[in-house]
């Protein structure tokens, strides 16, 4: 009895799948017709006109009711995304600076400087000069919004070598 039920269920599945394949092939064949494409294009155009009209009317209603339109809300959201992107860029640059150990190196050098009882004035001047140049470079690039991570990395490497 159980076996018979299972066989019947398998048969139904098999027939069902075959029928599904058959329907799909038929539908796809019907679809692949230049007239169907033309009718679809007409329907799309009509739908497009309807969408345009709806948007136009909803904009008019929003204006009368003193409400922001969908586009205006989207523009505000876009501004928020732009700010987020700028913050993200800054965060990445900071990550790069800390990753390269440049900030840590500076601290170590300063600590080392402290431990030396009589620091050589010339070496200190050079270090100060390099730091100042680095600060200026970052500031300048940030202001011009042209702080390229590759060029920053290159400059930092140069600074480190000069310091060494």
């Amino acid at each position: 009895m159980q076996k018979g039920k299972q066989e019947l269920s398998e048969l139904i599945t098999l027939l069902g799948m075959k029928a599904e394949d058959h329907f799909n092939t038929k539908i796809k064949k019907q679809w692949n017709d230049s007239n169907v494409v033309k009718i679809s294009d007409l329907a799309l155009k009509r739908h497009l006109q309807l969408l345009k009209n709806l948007r136009k009317y909803s904009d008019v209603i929003a204006l009368q009711l003193n409400l922001p339109t969908k586009q205006e809300v989207a523009n505000i959201a876009k501004l928020a995304v732009q700010i987020e992107e700028k913050l993200d860029d800054l965060e990445e640059k900071l990550l790069l600076l800390t990753k390269d150990g440049v900030l840590e190196n500076t601290e170590i050098t300063q600590e080392k400087g402290k431990s030396i009882i009589e620091p050589i004035e010339e070496k200190q001047d050079n270090r100060q000069h390099a730091k100042e140049a680095l600060r200026n470079l970052i500031r300048e690039n940030l202001l011009n919004n042209s702080l390229n991570t590759n060029s920053l990395q290159e400059t930092l490497e140069k600074m480190i070598h000069r310091r060494g």
Binding site: S9, E10, I12, T13, G16, M17, E20, F23, N24, I27, K28, W31, N32, D33, S34, V36, V37, S40, D41, L44, K45, H47, L48, L51, K52, R55, K70, V73, A74, N75, A77, K78, V81, E84, E85, D88, E92, L95, K99, N150
Partner: protein, 337 residues
């Protein structure tokens, strides 16, 4: 807000929980989130960076315990990063393919590298995510050791679109572009409809399979999870969809090395990472012809093409990694000494 009491319906159809593998969000941008899934017992230094499609939700990769590819990777000892693009809203209508590649994928990979402190990374792309991974792989400056692509639609010269429709699309005889522009963001229901019409307009056989195994509770639970995911499409950013239709589907620019991303030409020859491309035998959405073409176009010295039994998403639903994938990845990831 008043909390709704659990009714009889809730008891009969409890809400299914998905994405249960422990994770932390390490980076967020707009709707996107970069999730970090730490390895259970870390065995490899090379982390995995997963890119999913823009059509469905990425939780298919971590559907349920025992049905999760992410869980399988984590169990194998890999740190996993998943870039979840989220659900785009109307304000994202101008997001382009360039944005997805540069502002999300490239940034996400960099964040993963910072976070993992790894020297190299493995990129894994699924379906349309595989197409994105391929484009990114060709312009990446980041150290990519391996690229794994699961059923990526790449060669649109072998399109599954019916001939008459393809002719109309190529000739600009359909007002599709204007409709996309007017919508801004194409609703999820339309995406589902287009996919269904191009692959399988009538699809009831899945219910027959359910009927056949209706007394198997575990099967029914899994079936429901997959079926819910299949219906859970997300809207598509209009600008990206237009670019995909015009640049990839109609002009087939990716495979012809003519696609431009932020002014840079995408040359597939620039892909030098170890490459594994996987297609499945019963995939109706992305046929083999659309996938295989990449093999002869990349510069990778170590490249493998593998065809396995199964449907479009079946590999992502297995609780364990298939043996070939396990060994391929193990041999090409840096072990922890």
């Amino acid at each position: 807000m008043r909390k709704r009491k659990a009714g009889k319906l809730d008891k009969l159809f409890p809400q299914k929980k998905v994405g249960l593998t422990p994770k932390t969000a390490i980076w967020k941008k707009n709707k996107a989130t970069l999730w970090y899934y730490p390895a259970k017992k870390k065995k490899y230094k090379t982390p995995l960076f997963l890119i999913y499609s823009l059509i469905n939700q990425s939780y298919i990769l971590d559907l349920s315990p025992g049905m999760s590819m992410i869980e399988a990777f984590v169990k194998e000892g890999y740190d996993v990063y998943l870039l979840d693009f989220g659900v785009p809203g109307y304000e994202d209508k101008d997001l382009t393919l360039d944005d997805y590649i540069i502002k999300y994928i490239q940034k996400g990979v960099r964040r993963s590298l910072y976070h993992s402190e790894a020297g190299e990374i493995t990129i894994i792309g699924y379906c349309l995510g595989g197409t994105l991974a391929t484009i990114y792989g060709a312009l990446a400056k980041e150290p990519i050791r391996n690229i794994i692509l699961f059923a990526p639609p790449l060669d649109f010269g072998q399109s599954p679109i019916p001939e008459e429709w393809e002719v109309a699309l190529r000739g600009g005889e359909l007002a599709l572009e204007q409709v996309i522009e007017e919508y801004g963001i194409v609703p999820a229901e339309y995406i589902e409809f287009i996919l269904r019409m191009s692959v399988s307009p009538v699809n009831y056989s899945k219910y027959l399979t359910l009927l056949q195994r209706a007394d198997d509770k575990e099967f029914v639970r899994k079936w429901e999870l997959v079926n819910d995911w299949l219906k859970d499409h997300i809207p598509f950013a209009g600008a990206t969809l237009k670019q995909l239709i015009n640049e990839l589907a109609i002009k087939n620019k990716l495979i012809k090395n003519k696609l431009q991303i932020q002014g840079n030409r995408i040359n597939l020859r620039n892909i030098k990472a170890n490459l594994l491309v996987i297609s499945t035998s019963e995939d109706e959405i992305v046929p083999e012809q659309q996938i295989k073409a990449i093999m002869s176009l990349v510069s990778s010295k170590d490249k493998t093409y593998k065809r396995v039994k199964g449907g479009h998403v079946s590999l992502a639903l297995k609780g364990d990694l298939p043996e070939f994938l396990q060994s391929w990845l193990r041999d090409r990831s840096n072990p922890i000494n």
